[in-house]
């Protein structure tokens, strides 16, 4: 990817971070940390790789993205708004009474939201069914599913991973937000994943490990999945709370209200 494209994505990513902080600050509730870790991945997907038209969100030939870690809804909402799926002003209503933007994504209310998620562990199964269905319909669409590393503690993921390999589904890509933290602490302390790549490859997947904040690496990985004949898991090593100095790597920012002072600091860092 050339510098021009990379700089353009960086500018978009910064705008999305501002929208995340602003919406969570206005709501006084929401998951900042697990949203910020995904900004580059979602920016690269929505502004470079997904075949989507915000003006026609139900186009049957579109690519699909399922955010299995639904608590990161703020980053998905901010990205969709930034991409033009709905007015940016909607973000001011995040989590409030009457808002289409519930704390976790739900289908039918928000253009661009493909599935109701947030009860962790379900996204890969849904994506797998969807990928098989789209292929049966002979549509060119690809399905991307984003899961958290803590989320992989849910057993259903492993049922779905085995099935994806067994059914030879190659239009499904799973991206793991490997930020190493979960609600109660460090993922590797609470329930070590061990060698995730080796585990998943042994089922018959391709895996690739990248820096999930490096647009070049994200871009290369997302380009490669389109020509692979096996399902791919992209393990994106990220920093929870990325981009806001006082949130980076701090467990409490999994879900915590942002004070007025913190809001000012955060927005100043994003200028």
């Amino acid at each position: 990817m050339d510098d021009f494209n990379q700089n353009s994505l960086k500018t978009t990513a910064c705008a999305i971070r501002r929208l995340i902080i602003e919406s969570i600050y206005k709501a006084q509730t929401g998951h900042a940390g697990p949203s910020l870790s995904l900004v580059e991945v979602l920016t690269a997907l929505y502004f470079r790789h997904l075949k989507l038209r915000p003006s026609d969100p139900d186009d049957p030939t579109r690519d699909r993205l399922i955010l299995s870690k639904g608590h990161a809804a703020p980053v998905l909402y901010a990205t969709l708004a930034q991409a033009g799926f709905f007015p940016v002003e909607w973000l001011d209503s995040l989590r409030k009474l009457g808002s289409p933007l519930q704390g976790h994504p739900n289908v039918g209310l928000v253009p661009g939201i493909e599935a109701s998620t947030g009860s962790l562990g379900q996204g890969i199964s849904i994506s797998l069914g969807l990928a098989i269905g789209l292929r049966r319909r002979q549509l060119p669409s690809r399905v991307y599913c984003i899961v958290g590393d803590g989320e992989l503690q849910e057993g259903q993921n492993w049922e779905a991973m085995m099935a994806t390999a067994a059914f030879k589904v190659n239009n499904l890509t799973v991206i793991v937000d490997r930020n190493g933290l979960q609600n109660d602490g460090a993922t590797e302390t609470i329930m070590p994943l061990g060698d995730l790549s080796a585990k998943v490859e042994s089922f018959g997947w391709n895996t690739v490990e990248i820096n999930g904040h490096d647009f070049n690496q994200i871009d290369q990985a997302l380009s490669a999945v389109k020509i692979n004949d096996r399902p791919t898991m992209i393990i994106a090593h990220t920093i929870k709370g990325k981009g806001i100095s006082f949130m980076e790597g701090i467990v409490k920012w999994h879900h915590h209200p942002i004070s007025s002072e913190e809001y000012q600091h955060a927005m100043a860092e994003l200028e």
């Binding site: 379900q122 269905g133 049922e159 779905a160 099935a163």
Partner: protein, 317 residues
């Protein structure tokens, strides 16, 4: 009695017919296809059948995804294993309003010799509390077959409850099956016998016994548990002043509580429940278990007599 046939066989046969009519029907099973009869569909339409392995959560999740791609997936397992994927049914199917058909065979005590661990007497309760879930509980082969077709045509989540063991055919094949419509199978003025699924035939037997004693029962077949046909059910109970609610399911959370909840504010009446008491099942023949746990025409008749006998209780001081 009439010819005996199992409702799971009706499912197998209906899927074959549906498969021939529509190419958007997909059948999923969690490695029980011989018992659930989806094997018959697999043999005819192998490219439209998916064995997800012993993985009910993935079964339901995949079905939701397939529905999102415009297919009508029939996700099949035993009633007891439905609870295993309850959160998936709640989140991906009901909350997600996915056009998924969940089919559960071996409901009630029917997994008899497998023992209490395998007897699903809680599934109706689990499904009833889900907003937007349509729940079908056909009584015999004919009705079950029609219910499969009705489920396929109905947009949105459907739970279809089926039996393992053969039961008498008590409905007329020509009788049209309509989701949300209960049927009056016998008219009477003394007691309403409101039954669903495998115990409808027992209710009819009880009604015949009671008629010999001069007690006329109105027998209602409730083959849709949700949405409940409150008009037909409350009409019967109102005419009789009392009713026995009969189901091969826990007395908690099933048809009894559905009926009681729907009519208690409308009409004064006395209701009794025939179902599994608040306990787990056990091992034995299906009929032996039904007798052991009081799910028989004898018990129905006995409870009906008691209800009728105390229709004018003395006012106690």
């Amino acid at each position: 009695m009439n010819k005996l046939k199992a409702t799971r066989d009706a499912y197998g046969d209906a899927l074959l017919e549906l498969g021939a009519l529509r190419d958007d029907i997909l059948v999923l099973d969690a490695d029980l296809s011989r018992s659930t009869r989806t094997e018959w569909f697999r043999e005819c339409y192998p490219d439209r059948f998916i064995n997800v392995g012993i993985a009910e959560q993935n079964l339901v999740g995949m079905a939701a995804g397939l529905a999102m791609a415009g297919f009508i997936p029939f996700a099949t397992t035993y009633a007891i294993f439905v609870g295993r994927a309850y959160d998936q049914i709640r989140q991906a199917v009901a909350f997600g309003q996915a056009n998924v058909k969940i089919v559960a065979t071996h409901a009630g005590l029917a997994a008899s010799h497998d023992g209490g661990s395998h007897q699903g007497n809680e599934d109706l309760a689990l499904m009833r509390v889900l907003p937007g879930m349509t729940i079908l509980s056909p009584a015999d082969y004919h009705e079950a077959k029609q219910a499969v077709f009705a489920a396929a045509s109905h947009p949105g989540p459907v739970y279809l409850r089926l039996q393992k063991e053969p039961v008498p055919i008590v409905t007329a094949p020509a009788q049209p099956f309509q989701i949300g419509r209960a049927q009056i199978l016998r008219h009477g003025r003394d007691v309403a016998l409101i039954a669903t699924g495998s115990l409808l035939c027992q209710a009819l037997e009880a009604a015949a016994k009671l008629a010999n004693e001069g007690i006329e029962s109105e027998v209602i077949n409730v083959s849709t548990i949700k949405p409940l046909d409150v008009t037909t059910i409350s009409g019967a109970i109102e005419r009789c002043g009392c009713g026995v609610i009969i189901e091969e399911h826990s007395c908690i959370g099933g048809l009894y509580e559905a009926v009681a909840g729907a009519i208690s504010a409308r009409i004064p009446c006395r209701l009794a429940s025939i179902g599994m008491a608040d306990q787990f099942g056990s091992t034995g023949d299906w009929q032996e278990l039904q007798a052991k746990f009081g799910l028989s025409s004898q018990t129905i008749a006995e409870i009906a007599r008691q209800l009728v006998g105390v229709s004018n209780p003395p006012i106690s001081g």
